[in-house]
Amino acid sequence: MIAPKRNALQQLVYLLGLYRIYLKIYFRTLIEYRTDTWVALIGGLCAQASTLTFLTVIFQRIPRLAGWSYYELVFIFGLAATGRALNQAFLNVPYSLNGYIRSGMLDVFMIRPVGPLFQATGMSQEINGVGSALTGMVILIYAASHLELHWTFAKGIYVAVALISSMIIQLAVLLAIVVSAFWILEIRSIIYPVGWLYDFTRYPLQIFTPFIRGLLTYIIPFALGSFYPAAFLLRPHLYSWAGLVVPFVAILLFILTYNLWLFGLRRYSSASG
């Protein structure tokens, strides 16, 4: 067969269609394993709920933290948690990549006419994340309903932009780590502690030491996808820079990481056998 020619738009439509197929595949797999699915879904909800209970207890004792009110704290938490959960649900590929390399699945992706990163992403959904994302959104709406945020259409769009940016920043950071760890340094487990760092950004950054603040803003900029967008929505005058910087950093990081991925793929040496 000859490769069909597609322009940029057709390619985008093609990839979206493929992603839809992956979702369908994932959904059908979930139905095959109904019990596991319920366990995962409920597990995600429980994990989030227990964190929330813990948080409520803590926050109600400290009605203000670093100048943020209780509902503001919950709002920051909700946005960050939703971003994390959406990333886990749809862009979980950094965590599954190791398995794809070991099992030789990456080889199979490489003989097909679609980028292997896209295929690996398409095969890496996590239902667990859907449960968490739902709870995250409930938290977010609960907090927002108690705050005088003067919602406008633009602000609504910005929430979506912030969540997508958050997903992409996490993907970029974790993927960069996985690629360098696999192919440059060969330490595989470092991704987990880096992933956990994200949890810090569910709280106001001011409560941390300057080192952690700097780390999460400049080095591993998870905060740009969670705390800062939330702060921008809550205190627009103080954090006005975050409006454009957040999506811009997300795009930039993604381009950098994608090139690192391509570089890693050239050094990829497959698995024996």
């Binding site: 000859i2 595949i25 030789g104 080889d107 003989i111 060969e186 990829y268 056998g273």
Partner: protein, 347 residues
């Protein structure tokens, strides 16, 4: 123009070795220790469209590594590869349309879902027109006898059934070349035969170029007019199986059963002095091994029969499997002292 050109290709793997000790991993971060493995060394060959070639070699010889370079998974460390005129690693997407790949030890199919779902996914991925897809699926499914399997989850299939479904998956987009890396490994005789006859058929009827790796000689005998043998990364033979049989299988064996083998031993002793002449006696059986190029078989038989009176007599060619094992073990020169002048023989 050949459809596959491999020109002085090398592949060196660098693997980092972790240091021992408590801080081993940490130290390795800053001063990695690497070990180099040359998996493929200075290999050259070309394959014409429509050929069917077997790639034979013991475990670890470099067969899979070669296939991975030809399919664009790995980049050669040196040398040049052209598949359909392009570099596979540089343009994987273009390459993916002209090749189909079957890995004996990896699966293309979605493990938990019915076989058909994997095919549907591939149909969309490659953008196969619906009419072609339907035609290819029904045609191949009929020949491979997998129609009954299409709606069964992949995980419920036997290895042989799965393998046939894998082959179908690799052919849906009508590739020009089919690579198969140990497609018959672990299969029983019947399953092997089904796969062989299908491969033979698509090669003959659709002119699909075949390159298959194996260590099963029956695969070759059945499928491939051409045989390449690789050992320790080096291509040590490129020619026909017939040529090996004719020129390398020089050993003949005569077995006679008689009440008094000792007498025959005395007669046989006349031929001793030839390098490859051996006689062994086991109770009532005498076994004589010789090189048929050095000793005339009819003369040997006449001499033996003039003095002995065997109850039974059998002659055997050298077992080709054992021969190839000997080629691996001792190198091509051990089985063939004077390299043939024929072109396309030994490298």
């Amino acid at each position: 123009m050949p459809i596959i050109e491999v020109d002085h290709v090398n592949k060196v793997f660098k693997t980092s070795v972790r240091r021992e000790g408590r801080f081993g991993t940490f130290i390795s971060l800053f001063s990695p220790v690497t070990r180099q493995v040359t998996a493929v060394e200075d290999i050259s060959f070309t394959i014409e469209k429509g050929e069917s070639v077997a790639y034979l070699g013991p475990n670890g010889a470099g067969k899979s590594t070669t296939i991975k370079m030809l399919t664009g998974i790995l980049e050669p460390s040196g040398g040049n590869i052209l598949v359909g005129g392009g570099k596979p690693h540089r343009n994987r997407i273009h390459n993916s349309y002209q090749i189909g790949v079957v890995f004996g030890q990896r699966s293309q199919l979605l493990f938990d879902l019915p076989v058909r779902d994997s095919y549907e996914m591939l149909r969309y991925m490659y953008g196969i027109p619906h009419a072609h897809y339907r035609k290819n699926l029904s045609e191949f499914a009929a020949v491979l006898e997998v129609e009954q399997l299409l709606d069964r989850p992949v995980r419920t299939l036997s290895l042989g059934q799965r393998m046939r479904c894998e082959i179908l998956a690799a052919l849906l987009h009508e590739p020009d070349i089919l690579f198969l890396d140990e497609p018959t490994i672990g299969l029983d005789v019947i399953a092997k035969e089904r796969i062989r006859s299908f491969i033979e058929q698509i090669n003959r009827e659709k002119q699909v170029t075949i390159l298959l790796t194996t260590h099963d000689l029956d695969d070759i005998e059945r499928l491939c007019s051409r045989l390449m043998i690789i050992d320790k990364g080096n291509l040590i033979y490129d020619g026909s199986l017939g040529y090996i049989r004719e020129h390398f299988a020089t050993e003949r064996r005569i077995r006679m059963v008689m009440p008094d083998p000792a007498a025959a031993t005395v007669t046989a002793a006349r031929f001793e002095g030839n390098a490859d002449f051996r006689v062994s006696v086991q109770e009532q059986m005498i076994e004589i091994t010789y090189d048929h190029r050095q000793i005339d078989t009819s003369e040997l038989l006449r001499t033996l029969l003039s003095t002995c009176n065997p109850r039974d007599l059998a002659m055997q060619d050298e077992n080709i499997e054992a021969l190839i094992r000997r080629i691996y073990q001792d190198g091509i020169n051990a089985v063939h002292q004077q390299p043939p002048r024929t072109a396309g023989g030994i490298r």
